[in-house]
């Protein structure tokens, strides 16, 4: 099928700004689904609130646009009631890690078979560029005009420590890798977290003098490196990308089925 078969064309052109990295994530996600050949009606996209969450509205799957930060809670309900469906949750960094921080770590701990895509643009774009949990020390935001002094989370470390069984990172520049990782994350039987570094030229880029979308993508190319590369040894500041965690643990829905069976048998 062509890309247009996966979208709700009536909502295009989309509402994201020129050069927004979220559009690249949308593009990569469609290609991942296309390559896997999953039926559109076998996918449920559950999103929260924010620029990132608008992605659900543009895709012609089953979609739920829910509460800020609570998409994973809704997704858990969907997955438990219909475990045969593929549940994908696109989230922004603020949606996933500030407002929805608890939902995020507990979904990871349960290892429920959901694919969480954290579209990390380091800012709250929709509401005017406030700093987010991933803005990082020393950055500028509308709520941090004299620099932000909060340290940021490392999504990969956080998800790994919380128990996610598939954890990966890519960027909007590395589209082929991003598509491959999303494919693997969807296929993984357990909680998958994919962080995609996404550029926000309108708020983060402009305020932090990172230039336009092209400059921001070049910057992502410069500051990232494949996991375990020589470059990382020489320059520990580089951000690694690739698959960090890939392991098998009991999946929540199947484990819960066992509990139901035991309860019915009364032992």
């Amino acid at each position: 099928m062509a890309v247009k078969d996966y979208i709700r064309e009536r909502f295009f052109p989309h509402m994201w700004c020129a050069g927004c990295g979220h559009g690249i994530v949308l593009n990569g996600l469609i290609r991942a689904v296309e390559k896997l050949g999953i039926d559109k009606s076998a996918i449920v996209m559950v999103s929260g609130i924010g620029c990132s969450s608008r992605i659900a509205g543009y895709l012609d799957f089953h979609t739920l646009h829910t509460l800020h930060g609570r998409a994973l809670a809704f997704a858990t309900g969907v997955k438990l009631s219909k475990p045969e469906l593929n549940v994908i949750v696109p989230m922004g960094d603020g949606d996933a890690l500030a407002i929805g921080g608890n939902h995020f770590i507990h979904a990871a701990r349960r290892n429920i078979n959901i694919t969480a895509i954290v579209m990390n643009n380091r800012i709250y774009g929709m509401t005017g560029g406030q700093c987010s949990p991933l803005s990082g020390y020393g950055t500028l935001a509308s709520t941090a005009p004299y620099t932000n002094v909060d340290q940021s989370f490392d999504v990969v470390q956080l998800a790994s420590a919380a128990g996610a069984t598939f954890v990966a990172r890519s960027t909007g520049f590395h589209v082929q890798q991003m598509t491959e990782i999303i494919q693997e994350a969807i296929l993984h039987n357990g909680f998958s977290v994919v962080e995609v570094m996404s550029q926000c030229p309108t708020y983060f880029g402009r305020r932090n003098r990172q230039g336009d979308a092209v400059d921001m993508l070049k910057y992502m190319q410069k500051i990232t490196t494949p996991i375990g590369s020589k470059a990382k040894e020489q320059n520990p500041e580089l951000i690694e990308r690739g698959v960090f965690v890939r392991k098998e643990l009991p999946e929540y829905c199947s484990a819960y089925d066992t509990v139901i069976r035991r309860a019915k048998e009364g032992k």
Partner: protein, 76 residues
Amino acid sequence: MGKRKLKELQINREWCKGCGICAAFCAKKVLEMDELDKAVPVRTEDCVVCRLCEMRCPDLAIEIVAEEQIEEEDIG
């Protein structure tokens, strides 16, 4: 697999927001931005059908139609 050849490079001008990502990263400089800040193919004969412009377009405004059927894994 034969040599990849471009049949058509379609730009949806209604959807293109003029970010310039496609033109900036095209290794063969096939695309340029016009006076309205919309992407236009100018050197289609140089296109090697890597499809990176199509994949990186945040607006889903680019569609590459290749002359030959390409193996799935080569599309990238």
